[in-house]
């Protein structure tokens, strides 16, 4: 129906297992902190609120506006959610939205969902909130201008992360995929910025209390500013580098052990992705893959358990 997929939802099969699992590990760790924080800071009342807000983000993505030539823009919502709900709650809200899109509509895969959540739910939130936090005590005009920039940058960050993951998986060539993704999303990001600013302006006019001093978004720490600025810096430095001199980047990746010169076999991307005493046999690769899955499951299990104990 009115549901339009965006070019950022990676389907299964486009990322190698190694990259998917690394993304899952990062995502699970960040979500664990987010859950701990929201459990501590928010009461039981906030859970239904976050659920409805997730439904809001989902529904808001359907409000489109015609741009040109039959294409239309719509909201992704990471930055907006972070500014309105505060960063930790926004992370959980965006994660739920992406999970439902992947599970129910196959918009984004299951094994790669960790990467999708990271790109569209977590990075967008950190960048969006981090930049907004700098000016959260300033005048409304300043706040609106900065949130527009934050929204645009959050989309660019997600796009760049997606491009880098595709490249690390040997699915795409970096000097093509980075400019292509960033080029497309520079426009999508403009739409995101305009809608975010207009929506925030509307909320400022009608319910200024929701964004005031007592709100969730005003209370999170200064650390977000550093996180947001750091990621912004990485995006700003990495994008031109990846587009103009991919060799440099590949060199870095190689030194870090990410990339093997011959990308023919998908699991040679991490050279140690085999079990030593079995050598580089297929069995070894499969076992290593299985081991990686076990590790991620183990992390997830431990995190879940510690959270459960913390709840009681």
């Amino acid at each position: 129906m009115h549901y339009s997929p965006t070019p950022m939802h990676i389907p299964d099969g486009f990322l190698t297992l190694a990259v998917s699992l690394i993304c899952w590990a990062v995502t699970i760790s960040l979500l664990a902190i987010a859950i701990r924080k929201t459990n501590k800071e928010l009461g039981e009342k906030q859970v239904p609120l976050m659920g409805i807000m997730a439904a809001f983000i989902f529904a808001a993505q359907m409000i489109n506006f015609p741009v040109a030539g039959g294409t239309s823009g719509h909201l992704l919502g990471g930055a907006l959610a972070a500014i309105v709900l505060g960063p930790w709650a926004a992370m959980l809200v965006m994660t739920s939205v992406i999970a439902v899109q992947g599970l129910l509509f196959q918009d984004g895969g299951l094994i790669v969902m960790g990467a999708n959540i990271l790109n569209m739910g977590l990075l967008t939130t950190v960048v969006g909130y981090g930049l907004y936090r700098i000016v959260s005590k300033k005048s409304i005009t300043t706040r609106l201008v900065i949130s527009g920039m934050a929204a645009w940058l959050s989309v660019m960050t997600g796009a760049l992360a997606t491009a880098v993951q595709l490249w690390l998986s040997g699915t795409a060539q970096i000097n093509i995929v980075v400019p292509a993704m960033l080029g497309v999303h520079a426009l999508i990001g403009l739409g995101e910025a305009l809608i975010t600013v207009a929506a925030l302006g509307f909320i400022f006019r009608t319910r200024p209390d929701l964004l005031g001093d007592g709100s969730a978004s005003a209370q999170s720490g200064r650390g977000w500013v550093f996180a947001g600025l750091l990621i912004t810096l990485v995006v700003v430095l990495l994008s031109p580098l990846a587009s103009s001199s991919p060799d440099g980047l590949e060199r870095v990746a190689e030194d870090m052990g990410f990339l093997n010169n011959s990308q023919a076999a998908p699991f040679h991307i991490i050279p140690d992705y085999t079990i030593p005493f079995l050598g580089a046999t297929p069995l070894s690769t499969i076992l290593a893959g299985g081991l990686g899955v076990m590790v991620v499951l183990g992390v997830a299990f431990l995190v879940g358990r510690s959270l459960r104990i913390g709840n009681q």
Binding site: P5, E44, P48, F56, F58, D107, T171, L194
Partner: protein, 264 residues
Amino acid sequence: MHDNVFDRYHFKQSLIHRLDPRVKLVVTVVFILSNALLPDGAWLAFAFCWLLILACNQLAKLGLGYSLKRSFVALPFALAAITAIFSIPGKSLGEWHFLWLTLVPTDAGVLRFVSILVRSWLSIQMAILLVATTQFPDLLHAFEHLRVPRILTTIIAFLYRYMFVLTDEVFRLLRAREARSAGLPGQKQGGSIVWRARVTGNMVGQLFLRSYERSDRIYNAMLSRGYSGELRTLHAHNMIRSDWLVLNATFGALVLIQLIGWIR
């Protein structure tokens, strides 16, 4: 209520529908993992994977082509993988000149590109089967059993319950915008792009306020009905013998598929 717009559940009485949701979830995830582990160009193994999917389609009484028909959603993403054709070293298959670029497709590159597409296409079909044969609340319950933190499953449960309601709200907003955006034939409709984006932003803000206020009402209603912070379900899920049987059978099949894929 447009509740049929989003619900992907396909009501049937079948072995697959009756399986424990945990079994279906785990089988789906392991199937997709197994796809990711298969080497490029393992056509025979891919073919067996597809046979497995066809069998599931048939067992679920959905008709053989059910998952196939719905599996093209990820097709646009294939664009992202297209550079793989040119970037992987291998035997050259000719030369294309495109703008300032010289593109040399290689046999290894084409192999990788096609393998990525096949893997993605198979994985998506299994995910389609999962939601076509499992009711979403049951699926969430399975996640809970598999130790996904409760706060996440609860948020997702709310999202699922209220996305229909808020989507209706969106339809009303869109209808209102359309009703006020009459245009004369031959004349430009609406203002500049910035103006349009602003209208959209106001609609988003409006939707936010309506959702926010609704969530207050919902919370009060739930509180008055005894909400204590968790959602309860009447479906008790217990693994029975047929569940274990299916689980083991599919694992066996997937191990076989891996063997076929790697031994050539």
